[in-house]
Symmetry: D2
Subunit: 146 residues, 4 copies
Amino acid sequence: MSAEQQAAGRVVVYTVKVEFGDCDPARIVWFPNFFRWIDAASRHFFVECGVPPWHETEKTMGVIGTPLVDTHAKFIKTASYGDVLQIHTRIAEWRGKSFVQRYAVKRGDDAIMECDEVRIFAGRREGDPTGIRALAIPEEIRALCS
Amino acid sequence: MSAEQQAAGRVVVYTVKVEFGDCDPARIVWFPNFFRWIDAASRHFFVECGVPPWHETEKTMGVIGTPLVDTHAKFIKTASYGDVLQIHTRIAEWRGKSFVQRYAVKRGDDAIMECDEVRIFAGRREGDPTGIRALAIPEEIRALCS
Amino acid sequence: MSAEQQAAGRVVVYTVKVEFGDCDPARIVWFPNFFRWIDAASRHFFVECGVPPWHETEKTMGVIGTPLVDTHAKFIKTASYGDVLQIHTRIAEWRGKSFVQRYAVKRGDDAIMECDEVRIFAGRREGDPTGIRALAIPEEIRALCS
Amino acid sequence: MSAEQQAAGRVVVYTVKVEFGDCDPARIVWFPNFFRWIDAASRHFFVECGVPPWHETEKTMGVIGTPLVDTHAKFIKTASYGDVLQIHTRIAEWRGKSFVQRYAVKRGDDAIMECDEVRIFAGRREGDPTGIRALAIPEEIRALCS
């Protein structure tokens, strides 16, 4: 294992089958669907690492989810229906109150799309039923994902 | 106003602009998107009739929403991006614990799609946080929609 | 094999993992997503039966796809994220120029949704680049699906 | 008008009504839906500037569309159903063979989301039915959008 991989921690793969209805009149994946799959891959990553569901972590550590604050994606090759895509997901960086989740979408060896997201672990804001705030990265979750 | 229209009660129109990404590789609207618009037209109907939002009706009459139990749709003509569709919505029938919501999707004079849904007014089931049950049609809502 | 099953022909199962983003603020699957999965199950059925892709059948038998003309669905139990659904698909009836495709969506033994669709095998209308017409059921496809 | 606005050229506003089904179990817009709206705003921008539809520009200047190669978005405030959003769209930069399309998604004065995309004007690759290539920015389109 290289130093880069060690730093990156665990990699989890999420598989997607591209369907006819995911494609637009140009016969290629309509790009918002990539973000649909990326969001599924994000949650799948935490589930596979053994992080309990958010309705449980809310009680134990006050974490209600991992909202997105920033995303940056590159579209490298097109995909179409019938394709099977693998989304390789990992945590690229842990910061004080946020983290970078990194995705490489591949079709076999072909790079299709790459995406870096900044997400936070959100907790409720006291006295404000819909407000949220960024929590310090929970050590327990960080350990499970490394 | 004809007898038929009188029986049918109020008609509310919801307008949809068909976008490129709503279409599939055959260059026509991918059919699940029609149900996306139908659901928006359903809620729009109640809002336009003056029915308060469900988080308010939950407190005043125990109604938390109008889940769908049955839907039947006919696809008459295709539509594509650039088209503007009008969804004419009304309550076709009030039953004891359910109602039929009827939709006519048109492009000008062209009939594009027709849909009849059976929905209920749902309330919470006591002692079961996720269970729901069909309530008797609230007279106040029926009056607003007629 | 029962008489009913014999008549029904081949059954193909398509598996769906319900994701967070498939659910609405009531925490249950937003119903248009069921039609997204049903459409994928329809195409999956023909692929698994050995029917060539539509761009090939267009050349060999003039079939460009199986557009939907009518759909009728019952919503029996709700589903939410984390659930794995099996969509059991078969051809319930062959008619002269249309067929009934039948779907049973299950979570283990629980019936979640049932749907009957009428679809046609479409061919191009001569001299009209966007027009389509219903073809007689191709015997070759019927044999593959039985 | 400031120097910055002059440089930016024309601004076109696309309006979105957030629907119940656009929201997730956290009761806020599920983020892939923002990209659905951004893509509609992109095409709406060119339509409003008087650029002919892509099936016409394909014949006159070889342009078949504006595929996305890179996108970067910041999520600033959440939105929910009932909200009406305005997407302010402009071309922030013209490059040799690509351009930056910039979006500011607002709810009244509130900034909700911001997005910068790199797109190209695509033409067909000779002798390759599905291949595309980046064309030099067509002067006629640039003039219409300025």
